[in-house]
Symmetry: C2
C-alpha cells in the first residue's frame, strides 16, 4: 500500500452504503409526506453556531459531548447536538416573519461526542416536529395524530403511542405528599422500563420513603384499560387538576377521530426532562419494545426563553431516524429497492451506445428506472453485474435487433425471455413484469 | 431584553425559512427522481473526518477555508469541504462491497470558511453524481444525459450544457507549440467568461507569447455550429487525438437520442482543475448566464489514488443547489407551495376539536393537506392567519353543522362559499378548487 492514506472514518461515525441510504431516504420521504399533509413546514438551521447560543451563557462547564472549537475568526463555535435548541434560537430570530401558531419540521444531522456503545453514534439524523404559539388541546391532539400517521406511513408494524400529562402527575404526587422532590420522582419512574420494578421501588423509597414509594408505583402502573387508568389518575390527581381535564378531552377526541386503538394512557410516562409541563408521549414498536421509544415528546411552557422575552408555549416530538432504521432492519421492515434500477440495457456493441441510451431514455420517460451497461463485455459478466446490483430485467439489442428496430427482453429472476419486441411492446412487458 | 442571549447566527451561515426550505426540498426531490430513473444510488458519508484523510498527508499548510480542530479524543479532525474527497475515501473503503461500475449520488452540506461575498456562504448544499469504474464513452454520455434530464426536471427554463475534452485541448495546444505550460493556459482560458477577451489575451501572451496567444484564443472560440466547432477542434488536435474520437461519438449519440439541442461543443470549457483528463462540462441558464455554471464536472483518470492502489477512472458532475435555488428565485422559477397546506379547518367551538381533527384526517386520507386552527378565536383572526400562511381554503363547522353532519367550505381567494356539504361533497369540491 506504500504511501496511501488509510481510508478510515472517525470512531462513532460511519458511511451509509446505497441500501441503507436508500432506506433512510424512503423513511424521510414518507415522513415528509405526513408533515405536508398536516401543514407542517420544513425549516433548516446551520450545523455550526456560536457556542454560547447553543449552550447558554457561561456554557463554560463545556459538555464533553459537544463538538466545540475556535474557528478562523476566533469565534467560540459548536456543532448542534439537538434540533430543539436551534429551533428555539430560530423562533426568537424570526418570530416577526412567521404566522402563529407555527408548525415546523426539521430533519437534520446532529453530533454528540458520546460513548459509542451498541447502536450509539456520534453523528445521527433526527426529525423533530412542533407546533408553537398555542396552549390549546388541539395542538396536543395534533401531535398525537402526527405520530400515529407517521408510524403508519413508515409501515413499522404494530406500535403503541403511550401518553400522560405532567400536570396530572404532579398533582397526584402532591396529594401523595411528594412535593419537594417531585422532579426526581418523575425521573425515577421514567427509568422503570430500563431498571426494573425492584430497583425503581428501592430508589423511590430512598427519596420519599417506603409507603409513598408504594403509592407512587401503584399510581404509575397502567390499568387494564385506558378508561380505568383515567379514573385512577383522576382520583389520584383530583378531578379539577389541570392535566386531568386535558387528558379526558384527548381521550374523547381520539375516540371521535376513530384512532383510539393506537394510544394508551400510561402514568409511568414522565419524560425525565424538566422541560416538559403538559402532555408527555413515547412510542414503542410492539415487535421490538427493547429498543425503547422511537418517538418522544411533549408540551412545554416556553420554548425560547433563553433568547426572547416573548413566551412561546408549544408541543412536539422527535423521531430518532437512525435508531428507527436499525429497528426496521432488525424486523426486516426497512424500505428496499431504491438502490438499483428496474432495467439494465446491455451493451453488445460500442457502436450502438447512442441507441442504448435512447432506449433507456424512452423507458425513463415511461417512469421505468433504467441504466446502460457502459462497455461491451461478455453477456455473462453483464448479467453478473445485474445480479450483484439486484436489477431484475435486461434489455438486449445487437446489430440485428437494431436493424429490425426491435429489442429482446429478459427477466433475470425467472430467466424468461421475450424476443423481437418493439420498444412500446417492451415497455408494456417491463411494466407488467414489475407489477 | 435583560439577560436573554441574542439569537444570532455565525457570519456566512443562515437559517432557511419555510418557503426557502420547501423550495430546496422540492429541488432535491426532483433530482432524486432523476437519479433514481438513471440507476444512481444514494450514499452518505460523515460530516466530520480525520483531517489527514480530507486534506492529504502533511496537510499541514492548513487551508484557511477548512474548519479543522482537535476533538475530545485529541484527534485532528475537519468538516468536509466538498463531496469529492469523501467519495474517494468511501470508494477506497468499500470497493469490495460494491458492483462496478458504481453510480452514486450524494446530497449533503459542505463547509468552507471563505470570504462571504455576495451569495457566498460558509455552509452550503452540494449534489454530486458520478459513475466510477469505467472509461467508456457511454458513461460520459450518461453524465450529459443526467445533467439534461436534471435541469428539465427542475424547470429552470432554457439551459445549455457546454462540453469539451481535455485530451483534445491538450493535443491542440501541443500542436500549437504550447507544451510545458498547458495547464496554466487551460486555467486562463477557463477564466475568459469572467475576465473578458482583452485580459485573457494579455495573460495568455505573457505565458506563451503573442502569436500563440492568438492561436489559442481562435481555437477556444466557439463556431456558429457544433459541427463547425468539431471540425476546427479535429483540425487543431489532429484526427487521431484521443479526445477527438470521443467527442465525435458523443455528438453522434446525442443526436441519436434526440437531445442534441441542449448541448454545445465549446473548446473554451476547460475546467481549471488538473483533476480532469477527458470530458469537461459546464451548464448555463440562458436567462441568467451571469451566475456562472450551475452544474460542472468531467472525467478523471483516478478517483481514489490517495487511498487505494486500485485505479478508479470515472466521470461525474456537481450541482450547487443553493446557488441554483437563488437563481431560480431571481427568475421567479423556484418551486412554491410546499410551506402551507390546502385547507384550514377553522375552530368555532373547543368542544368540537375531535370533530375538526376527524375532518382533517378524512381530507388527508384523500391526499389533501389540512390543518386545524388550534383554538377558538374570532373567525376574522383565523382567516387572517390563513391568509398570512397562504392557505387557500377554509372548512367551517359549528354546532349546527355538526348536528346536521355537514360543513361549509370557503375559498379564501375568491370569497366564494359552499354551505351544507357532506364531507365527501366537500372533499370533491376542495379537489376541484385546487385544480
Amino acid at each position: 500500500m506504500g504511501s496511501v492514506i488509510e481510508p478510515k472514518v472517525l470512531k462513532g461515525f460511519r458511511d451509509a452504503l446505497p441500501a441503507e441510504e436508500s432506506a433512510r431516504r424512503a423513511i424521510l420521504r414518507r415522513l415528509e409526506e405526513v408533515f405536508r399533509l398536516h401543514g407542517f413546514a420544513p425549516i433548516d438551521t446551520p450545523a455550526l453556531e456560536y457556542a454560547d447560543v447553543l449552550l447558554g451563557k457561561g456554557g463554560g462547564e463545556t459538555d464533553k459531548q459537544v463538538y466545540r472549537f475556535t474557528d478562523h475568526g476566533g469565534r467560540d463555535v459548536a456543532l448542534r447536538f439537538d434540533l430543539t435548541v436551534p429551533f428555539a434560537r430560530f423562533m426568537a430570530a424570526h418570530i416577526g416573519e412567521l404566522a402563529l401558531p407555527f408548525r415546523r419540521w426539521h430533519a437534520a444531522k446532529v453530533w454528540r461526542g458520546e460513548n459509542t456503545q451498541r447502536g450509539r453514534y456520534r453523528e445521527f439524523m433526527q426529525v423533530d416536529f412542533d407546533v408553537v404559539g398555542t396552549e390549546a388541546e388541539s395542538a396536543d391532539l395534533e401531535t398525537l395524530v402526527v405520530i400515529r400517521d407517521s408510524f403508519r406511513a413508515l409501515e413499522v408494524g404494530a406500535f403503541q403511542v403511550q401518553y400522560s400529562h405532567r400536570g396530572a402527575l404532579n398533582a397526584a404526587l402532591a396529594r401523595m405528599g411528594v412535593t419537594g422532590n417531585a422532579a426526581e420522582v418523575l425521573r425515577i419512574i421514567d427509568k422503570e422500563r430500563k431498571i426494573g420494578e425492584e430497583k425503581t421501588r428501592e430508589l423511590l423509597a430512598e427519596v420519599v420513603g417506603g409507603p409513598a414509594a408504594r403509592d407512587v408505583m401503584a399510581f404509575a402502573r397502567r390499568e387494564p384499560s385506558s378508561a380505568e387508568t383515567m379514573r385512577k389518575v383522576a382520583d389520584a390527581a383530583g378531578p379539577s387538576a389541570p392535566g386531568v381535564q386535558r387528558l379526558r378531552e384527548i381521550e374523547r377526541a381520539l375516540a371521535e377521530i376513530g384512532i383510539a386503538e393506537s394510544f394508551v394512557l400510561d402514568p409511568s410516562i414522565t419524560r425525565g426532562l424538566d422541560y416538559y409541563t403538559g402532555l408527555v408521549v413515547e412510542t414503542y414498536l410492539e415487535q421490538l419494545p427493547s429498543i425503547g421509544s422511537v418517538c418522544s415528546g411533549g408540551r412545554y411552557d416556553d420554548l425560547a426563553s433563553l433568547y426572547s422575552p416573548q413566551r412561546l408555549p408549544g408541543v412536539g416530538a422527535s423521531i430518532g431516524v437512525d435508531r428507527l432504521l436499525a429497528a426496521m432492519e432488525d424486523l426486516h421492515l426497512a424500505p428496499t429497492g431504491g438502490a438499483a434500477p428496474a432495467v439494465l440495457v446491455l451493451n453488445l456493441a460500442d457502436s450502438l451506445v447512442g441507441r442504448y441510451h435512447a432506449i433507456a431514455e424512452a423507458l425513463r420517460g415511461a417512469g421505468i428506472p433504467a441504466e446502460v451497461y457502459p462497455e461491451k463485455r461478455r453477456l455473462a459478466a453483464q448479467f453478473a453485474y445485474a445480479e450483484k446490483r439486484g436489477i431484475p430485467l435486461g434489455v438486449i439489442c445487437g446489430e440485428e435487433e437494431q436493424a429490425r428496430g426491435t429489442v429482446n427482453l429478459k427477466d433475470l429472476r425467472s430467466r424468461q425471455s421475450w424476443d423481437g419486441l418493439t420498444l412500446p411492446e417492451a415497455t408494456a412487458r417491463i411494466s407488467a413484469q414489475l407489477r
